[in-house]
């Protein structure tokens, strides 16, 4: 939890501080507040947790206790393209763990980690409610059903290619402008 905050993250903390004011100082608002913070930052850095504790006038360890209890809260920054692999029962019996392993191997990171360039992260989740399409993986916001080990490479490649195209187009439009 001791990563340096980026400049954007520091700026986001400021707007979070403003946003906090819209919540009543009630204990019952702790989870909605944490959800709001995570929406801004995509994870909960310790600086933010302390801010929330001060605002609600409760112990920081209490905030931490609640945050760690729930699976939805993360304490590491996710990658630009977060990969979620479903290991719910339907996905498990249709070999979701093999899908997870293939992502881990291709990206060189493990479940819960983020690549050094902060491009990808992997997270296992328990059922995303698309069980009929098992096994399921979600990259960013897109649900990919009927996953197969051999599809993993293709999906990751597509993201790389799209990134390249976007980069080239940006360069092109910049050179056209000058």
């Amino acid at each position: 939890m001791n990563q340096e905050l980026t400049t954007e993250e520091k700026a986001a903390l400021k707007s979070i501080a403003k946003n906090l004011e819209t919540f009543n100082k009630q204990r019952g608002n702790l989870i909605p507040i944490l959800q709001m913070v995570q929406e801004h930052l995509a994870y909960l850095p310790s600086e933010a947790l302390r801010m929330v504790a001060e605002y609600l006038e409760i112990n920081a360890c209490e905030v931490y206790g609640v945050a760690t209890f729930y699976n939805q809260f993360r304490f590491h920054p996710p990658g630009k393209h977060p990969v979620k692999v479903c290991l719910g029962t339907a996905c498990h019996v249709r070999a979701g763990d093999i899908i997870l392993e293939n992502f881990e191997r291709k990206l060189g990171i493990e479940d819960g980690e983020t690549t050094a360039d902060r491009e990808f992260s992997i997270e296992r989740v328990a059922c995303v409610g698309c069980c009929a399409l098992a096994p399921v993986a979600i990259i960013g916001e897109t649900v990919h059903g009927h996953m197969a080990p051999s599809k993993v490479e293709g999906l990751l490649m597509r993201i790389e290619i799209e990134k390249d195209i976007a980069k080239r187009e940006k360069e092109k439009s910049e050179s056209e402008q000058t």
Binding site: N29, T89, C127, A134, V143, P149
Partner: protein
């Protein structure tokens, strides 16, 4: 949108929308935008459809609706064209011009898009004839395919809020409760507790009563609650308002699993429009009755589906269950009488009020009334949501509706009841599914997950999977559950890794007994079910793991290896090209070899081979 100030205003608006739906001369295209179809690309199909309709100047002659889940998720995206009920599954953008040109404009079918029943290979044109739907009785789920969940007017057009009207003007609270009691409705969230009795006790206790909807849907493998909230949110909302009238509550909560953003959006919108029409909020329909609902997004913890943990979580605390010496109907949320029911339970309420308890009780079995929605998933051909009367046999659900096992493999077991349930073997396929029958064979109804398993599913691995899930989700406050499950997981993992010892099964049985009897809440007391039922029916498979260090299903990685069958291999080279470790070699058109000691068992060659030549040993 104007506030409806009395009964007559509600009636007239409802009948005007009912009439509009009935008398519409327009064709209606219903395109499923549920979670499954959405993942397959409904959005693109919709855009193309709208473009094509505009191109043919048909926008005003055809109505297009993005509906909630139709249930047959395997075959998405699904389109149904009314009034005929023409069924086009598995659509892509490229199919749309043909549909618009032929079916919409000229009334002809597009032959190549017609559904082909995988079992009989027969072509089936109309939705009502598709076997998947034909054997269902869609009392709760039926309107999903007709209405646009974001339009309250659509809900009016199928008779929406008639139950609210009846409950508010024609019935006393006691009569409502009696009606629910007589219907025999039992909770759909897990335990199957009689809903009427719960309501009655709640009404007896004093305080600010709360009405709560449990939409935490923690069972990994079930998604009917999600589909109801997304596809027909007003039916759940109407049920809750009726419940509030019955027990005299002014405030309600819906606790939604955080993985379901669309459910939150659609339900919030439903609340919004109900408020605008004056069906929610202050002075509902001019009667002086006040009731409003808040949405709370769950934090993502399985245990929070448990009633007392859910209420703790609503209060902003970690969701830890408490002992239920005092029931939540007496002291629940904020220490007040709280009436918690599951999403599907609530959706049953308007049906009961509208059609009467007698009609409702005529469906189902002696002890379990009405229908139940099952999430039929796993190794079955037609995966999706299936609504059948209680008492329908497993065989009908899995083989007639579900179309049997994938790739003609052999049925092994069906898991019901989620992490608290058990695996039911082949010998019980003719079991009529209801609350009591499932319990008798060592499983339970749970929320209605039905995960079909075939010969390639390892039962020891399934047990290990559930225990791993549960020990991860255990809230950790009571010893038996926290420590007991951990020990059980250690034993099961050891068996799966080939280090099983004589006596491990007895140890598992002993631990199960302790955890089941000594745990604080339902998570712990039911946690050993998957293991117990599993050992009971598949003991031999456990023994093969322990004694022979073999996993016959080819799931437990340390206990099997892949081999290329030299007779079956045609030398097509596909596996060699795909192998990420480049350890498969061989000449074209000659049998290939796999270097066993370098194999990482990623499964790519097994999946790739079209001749079944990669085998599990």
């Amino acid at each position: 949108m104007t506030t409806l100030e009395n009964r007559e205003a509600l009636r007239s608006i409802r009948s005007s929308f009912e009439a509009r739906l009935r008398d519409s001369k327009k064709k209606l295209i219903s395109l499923c935008a549920g979670s499954g179809c959405g993942a397959y690309g409904t959005a693109k199909v919709y855009d193309t459809l709208m473009e094509q309709l505009a191109e043919h100047n048909l926008e005003n002659e055809v109505e297009v609706k993005l509906s909630g889940c139709h249930g047959f998720c395997e075959k998405g995206p699904i389109m149904v064209i009314h009034p005929e009920g023409i069924f086009y599954p598995q659509l892509k953008e490229k199919h749309i011009p043909d549909i618009v040109e032929n079916t919409i404009k000229n009334g002809d079918l597009v032959k190549k898009l017609i559904f082909k029943d995988p079992a009989t290979k027969k072509k089936i044109t109309y939705e009502k004839d598709v076997p998947f739907y034909k054997l269902q009785q869609r009392v709760i789920f039926g309107n999903n395919g007709i209405i646009d969940p974001t339009r309250i007017e659509d809900y009016f057009s199928v008779g929406g809020y008639a139950a609210l009207e009846k409950a508010l003007f024609d019935m006393s609270p006691k009569e409502i409760i009696d009606e629910v009691k007589k219907s025999g409705l039992r909770g759909r969230g897990g335990g199957g507790f009689p809903a009427g009795r719960k309501w009655e006790t709640c009404a007896k206790h004093h305080g600010d009563r709360y009405v709560i909807c449990n939409a935490d849907e923690g069972d990994p493998g079930a998604y009917m609650d999600r589909s109801l909230l997304e596809g027909n949110p007003h039916s759940v909302l109407e049920g809750m308002i009726v419940g509030a009238i019955a027990v005299g509550s002014n405030e309600g909560y819906v606790y939604v699993r955080h993985e379901y953003p669309l459910a939150v959006t659609n339900f919030s919108q439903a609340l919004e429009s109900a408020r605008k029409y004056g069906l929610l909020g202050k002075n509902i329909l001019g009667t002086g009755f006040d009731f409003d609902i808040h949405i709370s997004r769950g934090g993502g913890a399985f245990v929070c589906g448990e009633s007392t943990a859910l209420m703790a979580s609503l209060e902003g605390k970690p969701g830890r269950p408490r002992a239920k010496y005092i029931h939540t109907v007496e002291k629940g949320f904020r220490n007040n009488p709280s009436m918690l029911n599951n999403v599907e339970t609530w959706a049953n309420v308007p049906v009961i009020i509208n059609k009467g308890s007698e009609w409702y009780a005529s469906i189902g079995t002696e002890g379990s009334k009405g229908t139940k929605i099952f999430s039929l998933v796993g190794k079955v051909m037609n995966t999706g949501l299936v609504e059948v009367p209680m008492g329908t046999t497993l065989r009908t659900i899995i083989f007639d509706i579900g179309g049997g096992i994938l790739k003609k493999k052999k049925f092994k077991a069906v898991q019901t009841g989620g992490p608290s349930g058990g695996c039911i073997p082949e010998e019980f396929l003719d079991l009529g599914v209801d609350f009591d029958e499932l319990t008798k064979v060592g499983s339970m109804m749970g929320s209605g997950g039905m995960i079909v398993m075939d010969q390639d599913t390892c039962m020891v691995d399934v047990a290990r999977y559930f225990i791993e899930f549960l020990q991860d989700e255990s809230c950790g406050q009571c010893n038996p559950c926290r420590e007991g499950l951990k020990q059980m997981l250690d034993v099961l993992t050891r068996i799966c890794h080939g280090h099983g010892r004589e006596g491990d099964l007895e140890l598992l049985e002993e631990l199960s007994d302790m955890v089941a009897n000594a745990s604080l809440c339902g998570l712990g007391t039911s946690a050993p079910n998957p293991v117990m039922s599993n050992i009971r029916y598949f003991r031999e498979e456990y023994e093969t793991h322990i004694r022979d260090k073999k996993c016959p299903a080819g799931v437990c990685k340390p206990l099997f290896f892949y081999e290329i069958d030299q007779e079956l291999c045609t030398g097509c080279t596909l596996c060699a090209k795909r192998c990420p470790e480049e350890i498969i070699s061989g000449e074209q058109k000659a049998p290939h070899q796999l270097e066993q000691d370098k194999c990482i068992k990623c499964g790519i060659c097994y999946e790739a081979c079209m001749f079944d030549a990669v085998v599990v040993k």
